[in-house]
């Protein structure tokens, strides 16, 4: 970590600068270290809650009437541990990042606060505490998103995020108030009295939580804030939001709808499955055509949250049909996907962050050639991309494999609903994987390989050691998920046991060295595949040595330019051109706005002076759904504005009027 100062970009010249630099370094180390320390504490607490007995903590004085109740069970512990693990990597990374980007004091203070708030949410044991922690988390993240508020894009993204997160919070507030009205304040008491909750209340709570938690998890159609806010936030914050905060939405689903209110009726599972698969396909489609590195990652978050929700829905649906064993499989898939997504998304955003710090670029069309200039970061992003694409040796593979297995092994019997849902879901998952591969190949191949497409990318420098260290931790986690998910077997077992309503009491899949499915002749061994693949590749390299003694000496030659002297880097495929076929194939869904305009020379219309090709890929859902709402709200606000002429007396009169009305009513 000490090497961070050596290549911190501000080379101290005057001792004034020296002092400021030293102060900046101190603050960065303090903030990042605090974040990482919180992460360590969180991980330890979470693991102890998973394996030890649940922990209770009641602080009466902190909040009038109800007090603050913390109640950390295996489920909460799981999420606390995941969040903590993410925070460790991010904290270490932030030490270097904050110095390189000259963070102000404010974000430095808010970063640990944000982590603390996120750790509190799953630990909350009562409705009030939950809402308190939730709002704290939302506020802290909002402030952090706005930390580069001098850019216009950041401000608009912040506004978007503020509105949507508050609306979501309103929905959750309503849902939980209804719930506590029916069952009490503490989650434990509610869970004890679920019998007394009417089906109408259950439905209301489910729909409201679907809105609230869905918007936090970035599910369609409430995802719109995510691809705006996550890219605009500073990269460590993006990593925290995209890898940890979105999980809180999933946690809400599991805790409220699956654990407390479950097992829900069929249509709960069906709704979750539909929302999940639609979000997954839409998210990955947007990711595969977006040319902004961080936006691409953000959309891939929507995709993965969709897959997780699909797995949750499958578990709910199957357990509502009594297929507990397969439901347990689906639930395990969901949990594994949550963990692996946290790992590779952290890594992805951190790597994107160090690219941003080194080049100031997020636009893939201008990047390229980083593999030679930032080898460490390139390897890190490669690991993340492999994990996100759900291929073997990638972190996401095992989870998606389990999800597919649970889908194809659902006992349909003579049930039309299952017999229709499962094939369609498999199709959705498959399309998601395919497009995810395309998106990640684009991000890695165009962004990091080939030759630089701009001077900034040409001048890129490797990230400092602290940033690399943070990324290495996340990369190690990715490797574990890819090769030895068996290490997480006990954890998943414990968490699953805490979810009896979704097949927790049935025997889940056995995560041994061989990942076996109970009752089905289905098994897989990621570790063995990895080893065998390495051996096979070495074998292939050996094949390549055949006839080597006849060869002339190897040479390095310029690229084949079809006879011309040299290829300029402008002749390469860019991200836009790479994704163009996909954009054309899916243009009914994406609805791109492209226009080509050709300007001729004045002398003759046969001589073309220049050709401009513009293409705009806006989020169609946003265009169709949000624009009208926003317009309506603005016009209404315009109307209300007329009541604000700015005269203090009038305002006082308003106040008095209000008071009178209240008195009259409350008489």
């Amino acid at each position: 970590m000490t090497t961070a100062l050596d290549d911190s970009p501000t080379a101290p010249v005057l001792d004034e600068d020296l002092r400021t630099a030293r102060r900046a370094r101190g603050q960065a180390i303090l903030s990042g270290g605090l974040t990482a320390a919180l992460g360590v504490v969180g991980t330890a607490l979470g693991l102890s809650a998973i394996f030890g007995e649940p922990r209770h903590l009641r602080i009466g004085w902190l909040l009038p009437l109800v007090g603050v109740i913390f109640d950390l069970g295996p489920l909460g512990g799981f999420f606390v541990a995941a969040t903590g693990a993410v925070s460790i990597a991010v904290g270490i990374y932030a030490v270097g990042y904050a110095q390189r980007e000259h963070w102000a004091r404010f974000p430095l203070v808010m970063l640990p606060l944000f982590v603390a708030a996120m750790l509190l949410v799953p630990a909350a044991g009562s409705v009030t505490t939950f809402l308190l922690a939730w709002e704290l988390m939302a506020a802290a993240s909002l402030v952090l998103v706005l930390s580069e508020h001098n850019r216009e894009a950041v401000r608009s993204a912040g506004a978007f995020y503020a509105v949507m997160t508050q609306l979501g919070f309103a929905a959750i507030l309503l849902a939980l108030v209804v719930l506590s009205a029916a069952g009490g304040d503490a989650f434990a008491t509610i869970a004890a009295h679920t019998g007394g909750i009417s089906s109408g209340t259950r439905t209301a709570v489910f729909l409201l939580t679907l809105m609230g938690f869905g918007s936090k998890a970035g599910l369609l159609p409430l995802h719109a804030w995510l691809p705006r806010a996550h890219p605009e936030a500073p990269s460590p914050v993006s990593a925290l939001m995209s890898a940890a905060m979105v999980n809180m939405g999933i946690y809400g689903f599991i805790r409220i709808d699956l654990q407390i209110l479950g097992p829900g009726p069929h249509w709960w599972g069906l709704t979750l499955m539909i929302f999940g698969s639609v979000s997954a396909v839409f998210g990955v489609l947007q990711a595969s055509v977006s040319t902004d590195l961080k936006r691409l990652l953000a959309y891939s978050t929507t995709e993965n949250m969709g897959l997780i929700t699909l797995a949750l829905g499958t578990a709910t649906l199957l357990s509502s049909y009594g297929a507990q064993q397969v439901a347990a499989m689906a639930m395990t898939a969901a949990l594994l996907l949550i963990l692996s997504h946290a790992a590779f998304k952290t890594l992805g955003f951190l790597a994107a962050g160090s690219v941003l710090a080194a080049t100031g670029l997020r636009d893939l069309d201008k990047l390229g050639g980083l593999a030679r200039r930032m080898p460490g970061t390139t390897v890190m992003f490669g690991i993340a991309a492999l994990g996100a694409s759900g291929l073997p040796l990638g972190a996401g593979f095992v989870g998606e494999w389990l999800l597919l297995q649970s889908l194809i092994h659902s006992p349909h019997g003579d049930n039309t609903l299952l017999a229709l849902m499962m094939p369609l879901s498999v199709g959705a998952v498959a399309l998601t994987t395919g497009l995810g591969i395309a998106a990640m190949v684009k991000a890695f191949g165009v962004g990091f390989l080939a030759r630089p497409r701009s001077a900034a990318a040409e001048a890129a420098r490797e990230a400092p050691a602290s940033m690399l260290t943070g990324m290495t931790l996340a990369a190690a986690a990715c490797a574990v998920f890819a090769v030895a998910p068996v290490l997480f077997g006990p954890v998943l077992k414990q968490v699953l046991a805490a979810l009896p309503t979704v097949g927790g009491d049935a025997a889940g899949p056995a995560l041994g060295g061989f990942l076996r499915l109970p009752g089905i002749a289905g098994s897989m061994a990621p570790g063995l595949i990895a080893v065998a693949l390495v051996i096979a590749v070495l074998l292939a390299l050996g094949l390549g040595r055949w006839g080597a003694r006849h060869r002339p000496d190897a040479v390095v030659v310029p690229l084949w330019a079809c006879g011309a002297d040299s290829l300029s880097s402008k002749m390469q495929y860019t991200a836009t051109s790479f994704a163009e076929p996909l954009q054309r194939v899916f243009d009914n869904v994406l609805q791109p706005e492209t226009d080509v305009e050709v300007t001729h020379f004045a002398e003759s219309q046969y001589l073309v002076e220049k050709v401009t090709y513009k293409t705009l890929l806006a989020d169609p859902v946003e265009q169709r759904l949000y624009a009208p709402v926003v317009r309506a709200v603005t016009s209404w606000a315009q109307w209300v504005r007329r009541a604000h002429p700015g005269s203090v007396h009038l305002y006082l009169a308003y106040g008095a009027l209000g008071l009178l009305i209240v008195l009259v009513i409350a008489r």
């Binding site: 006849h550 084949w560 330019a561 006879g563 011309a564 002297d565």
Partner: protein, 159 residues
């Protein structure tokens, strides 16, 4: 489908192969019967191109002797040059040759490629292929017949 009947009726239309000529140049890598060629038109009148395409057509079928025309010089081990070398094609000819991995042969097809032919005194002409790059095999004729081209190729493939 009427095509199947046509295929059956036409049968084999390839000319019978006469016995292999003695190899002038040893096959580039010591492996007989495999020669990938990259064709470069240095400034030809396209007569030789017609005959070359004839040599690879169904009737003469140079592929049965292991010769094949490929798209990229990286895949090739022979350069098939036709026509006089014009000024604009001199550098491309160099570049193409240099991007063919060793060992490689250069085959000059047609009188123009060998000695400039009818265009020798042209104003935009650098000279024959041999003036620009070393030539291993020459196929005289204006244009050479597919049979001649195939015979020349067989001296290289040794098949």
């Amino acid at each position: 489908m009427s095509w199947i009947g046509k295929i059956r009726r036409v049968g084999r239309i390839v000319e019978p192969a006469d016995e292999a000529p003695e190899a002038t140049a040893a096959p580039p890598t010591g492996v007989t019967g495999s020669l990938q060629l990259r064709h470069v038109d240095c400034g030809s009148c396209n007569g030789c191109e017609l005959e070359i395409s004839g040599a690879f057509s169904s009737v003469y079928d140079a592929e049965r002797f292991g010769a094949r025309v490929v798209a990229s010089p990286r895949h090739a081990d022979g350069l098939l040059a036709t026509g006089v070398v014009t000024r604009n094609m001199q550098q491309p000819l160099f570049n193409t040759l240099n991007s063919i991995p060793e060992p490689r042969v250069v085959i000059a097809v047609g009188d123009c490629a060998i000695n400039g032919g009818a265009f020798a005194k042209g104003y935009g002409v650098v000279g024959s292929v041999a003036d620009v790059i070393p030539v291993d095999v020459e196929v005289p004729g204006c244009p050479p017949t597919p049979q001649q081209i195939i015979t020349a190729l067989r001296t290289v493939t040794g098949r």
